[in-house]
C-alpha cells in the first residue's frame, strides 16, 4: 500500500467541513482519477495527500510513513518523494522555464548545487528531455511570463516529471488546455507513470478524459467518497447522481477513438 487513509477528515479555517470520513487505499503503480462537482473537496484531498494540510481526524499513511508524526526534516525528505502538480502553476513570472523545471529536484540536491544552478542551469539536458515529452522543448530558455496558460501547466507537469517522485498528485493538470492537447498530455502523464512504476492520482473536471485514461475512478461529492470502482464499472446513473444539481447537464461521452499522438496543434 503506497497510501492509506482511514476516517480522515479536514475542516477549513472558517469552519466549513471540506472532507468527512475518507477511506482510501491505493497500491503502488495504480492510476486513479478523482472526479466530482466543483467544491466537492478534490483539491483538499490532494493537498492532504501532499502533506500541505494536516487532517483534523483519522489516520494518514503515505509511502509507509505517518507524515505528521515525523520531524520537520524527515517530512521534507518524504515530500521530496511526492510530487504535486498545481492547477495554477506557482511559477515566478520572470523565471526561465529551464530553471523552473530544474526546481523539481531541489529536495534532492545539495545547497551549493542548487544555488549554482540558479545562475547557470547544470542539467539543461535533463530539463529539455522532460519538456520534450510535452512538446515544449523549444521553450527551454523563455521566461514564464511569455507562455500561455496551457504551456505553463505543461511546465508544471514537466517539473514534477523531472522530480521523478514515487507518488504523483495532479490537481486539474489539463484544465487550461484545449481538448486535443488535454487528451495528449494526459496520455503522456499516464505513460510516464506506468514506465516509472509511479502511483498517479489526478483530479479532473472532464469525465470523459478520466474514463478514457484511468483504470480506477473515485467520485467525490460534498466531502465524501460516493464511489470507488474500475472505470469500466461506472454507470451513467452514478455519474448523474455525482453531478446532480449542477447547472450544466453532464452526460458522459462514451470512450471515443484515440486522437493520434502526432500532429498536435502548437499551443
Amino acid at each position: 500500500m503506497i497510501l492509506s487513509l482511514s476516517g480522515v477528515g479536514h475542516t477549513h479555517a472558517d469552519g466549513q467541513a471540506a472532507l468527512c470520513d475518507i477511506e482510501l487505499r491505493v497500491a503502488q503503480g495504480e492510476r486513479v482519477a478523482i472526479i466530482g462537482p466543483s467544491g466537492a473537496g478534490k483539491t483538499t484531498l490532494l493537498r492532504l495527500l501532499a502533506t500541505a494540510l494536516k487532517p483534523q481526524c483519522g489516520q494518514l499513511e503515505l509511502l509507509g510513513e505517518q507524515p505528521w508524526a515525523l520531524s520537520v526534516a524527515q517530512r521534507q525528505r518524504l515530500r521530496a518523494r511526492i510530487g504535486l502538480i498545481h492547477q495554477a502553476p506557482p511559477l515566478p513570472p520572470r523565471q526561465r522555464v529551464v530553471t523552473a523545471v530544474l526546481a523539481g529536484r531541489l529536495g534532492q540536491w545539495s545547497l551549493g548545487r542548487s544555488l549554482l544552478s540558479l545562475i547557470y542551469p547544470l542539467d539543461a539536458a535533463g530539463a529539455a528531455a522532460e519538456l520534450g515529452r510535452l512538446d515544449l522543448a523549444d521553450k527551454l530558455y523563455m521566461r514564464c511570463d511569455q507562455l500561455s496558460g496551457g504551456q505553463l501547466q505543461r511546465v508544471g507537469i514537466a517539473r514534477v516529471l523531472y522530480q521523478a517522485p514515487e507518488l504523483i498528485l495532479a490537481d486539474e493538470p489539463v484544465s487550461a488546455m484545449d481538448p486535443v492537447l488535454a487528451n495528449y498530455t494526459l496520455g503522456v502523464l499516464n505513460r510516464e507513470a506506468q514506465q516509472r512504476n509511479a502511483t498517479l492520482l489526478a483530479s479532473l473536471h472532464a469525465v470523459e478524459l478520466a474514463l478514457q485514461h484511468f483504470p480506477r475512478i473515485i467520485g467525490v461529492r460534498a466531502g465524501r467518497i460516493l464511489f470507488d470502482k474500475p472505470a469500466t464499472a461506472v454507470t451513467s446513473e452514478e455519474l448523474a447522481a455525482l453531478y446532480a444539481n449542477e447547472q450544466l447537464s453532464h452526460s458522459p461521452v462514451p470512450a471515443a477513438a484515440f486522437a493520434p499522438p502526432l500532429h498536435i496543434p502548437r499551443c
Binding site: R96, V98, I119, Y120, P121, A124, A125, A128, A129, G132, R133, A137, D138, L140, Y141
Partner: protein, 276 residues
C-alpha cells in the same frame, strides 16, 4: 519522442562576464576601501565606543542647554526654509528656460523641438545639472571660507544645490503634463509666459508643490549635516559637543534631530495631502 538537441544557454556568456567583472573589481575595491569589519568587534575599539556611548546617558537637560538647543533647532529650520525660498527664485526661471514644454518650434513637429531649439536649451539644463551634482556640503565648506561661520553659508549652499534639483524636476514636470492647452495657446499667438501660466501651471501645481515640500524635508536634514562644517544650526552644535566628548549633549541633540525629522515628515505629508 526524439530528444531534441539542447541549445546553449543564451544567458550564460553575459552572466559569466558579469560574474568575472564583479570578481575582478571586488579585490581592488576591498583593498582600496580598507574594509575591516573586525574593528567593530575588536576589544579595545569596542571599549572606546562603549565609553563614548555610555556618556550618552543621561541626555543633558539643564536649563541653559535646553535654551541653546531650542535656538539651534529654530536656526536649522530657518536655514532650510530660507534656503528653499532662494532656491525657488533661481529654480523657476531656470526650469522655464530649460523645459521643452514651451517650445515654439515643437508646434509644427508634433512635440519635439528642432535641433537648434534643443541646443539653445542646453546651457540652462547644463547649469542645473552642475548645480545639483556638487554635494551641498562642498558648497557649504566653500561658503564658510568665503563668508565665515554661521547660517549664511548654509542658506547659500542649500539655495544653490536645491535650485539645481528643483529646476530639473520642475522642467520634467512641465514636460509631463498634457501639452495640448499650452500648444493651443502658443499656436493662437500668446507669449510663452502666458502659455505657461494658463496652460501648464494649473496642471503642474500639485506635483510641483508635492516635490517641493518633500525637498524641504530633505533640506532640514541637509542643514543639520552642513552644520558639521560650520554652517550653523543643530549640526554645528553637535560637532562642538562631539569634539568636547560631551556625550549627554550629543544624545539630547540626536534625539532632537530625530524628533525634528519626524515632525518635518509629518508636516510634509500633511501639506502634500492638503495640496496635491
Amino acid at each position: 519522442m526524439l530528444n531534441p538537441t539542447v541549445t546553449r544557454d543564451p544567458a550564460a556568456p553575459a552572466r559569466l562576464l558579469l560574474t568575472l567583472v564583479a570578481l575582478t573589481l571586488l579585490w581592488p575595491g576591498l583593498s582600496l576601501s580598507e574594509l575591516d569589519l573586525g574593528v567593530l568587534f575588536d576589544g579595545s575599539n569596542a571599549e572606546t565606543m562603549g565609553v563614548f556611548l555610555a556618556g550618552f546617558w543621561p541626555p543633558a537637560h539643564d536649563q541653559p542647554f535646553l535654551a541653546l538647543l531650542a535656538q539651534a533647532t529654530l536656526e536649522t529650520l530657518a536655514i532650510a526654509t530660507a534656503g528653499m525660498a532662494l532656491a525657488l527664485l533661481i529654480a523657476l526661471p531656470g526650469a522655464l528656460l530649460a523645459t521643452r514644454a514651451l517650445s515654439l518650434s515643437a508646434l509644427s513637429r508634433g512635440g519635439r523641438p528642432a535641433w537648434w531649439a534643443q541646443a539653445l536649451r542646453w546651457p540652462a539644463r547644463g547649469l542645473l545639472i552642475v548645480l545639483r551634482s556638487i554635494p551641498e556640503i562642498v558648497w557649504a565648506l566653500l561658503f564658510v571660507r568665503a563668508v565665515g561661520l554661521g547660517p549664511t553659508a548654509g542658506v547659500l549652499a542649500i539655495a544653490i544645490t536645491y535650485a539645481g534639483m528643483l529646476g530639473k524636476v520642475y522642467a520634467e514636470i512641465f514636460e509631463s503634463v498634457d501639452p495640448q492647452p499650452a500648444r493651443a495657446l502658443l499656436a493662437a499667438g500668446s507669449s510663452r509666459l502666458q502659455a505657461f501660466c494658463y496652460g501648464v501651471l494649473p496642471q503642474a501645481t500639485g506635483e510641483m508643490l508635492s516635490y517641493s515640500v518633500y525637498r524641504w524635508e530633505c533640506a532640514v536634514r541637509a542643514s543639520v549635516v552642513m552644520g558639521f562644517v560650520g554652517a550653523g544650526g543643530l549640526g554645528q552644535q553637535m560637532d562642538l559637543s562631539m569634539r568636547m566628548f560631551a556625550g549627554g549633549e550629543v544624545a539630547s541633540m540626536l534625539l532632537t534631530f530625530l524628533a525634528l525629522v519626524l515632525l518635518a515628515d509629518l508636516l510634509s505629508r500633511l501639506l502634500r495631502w492638503r495640496f496635491a
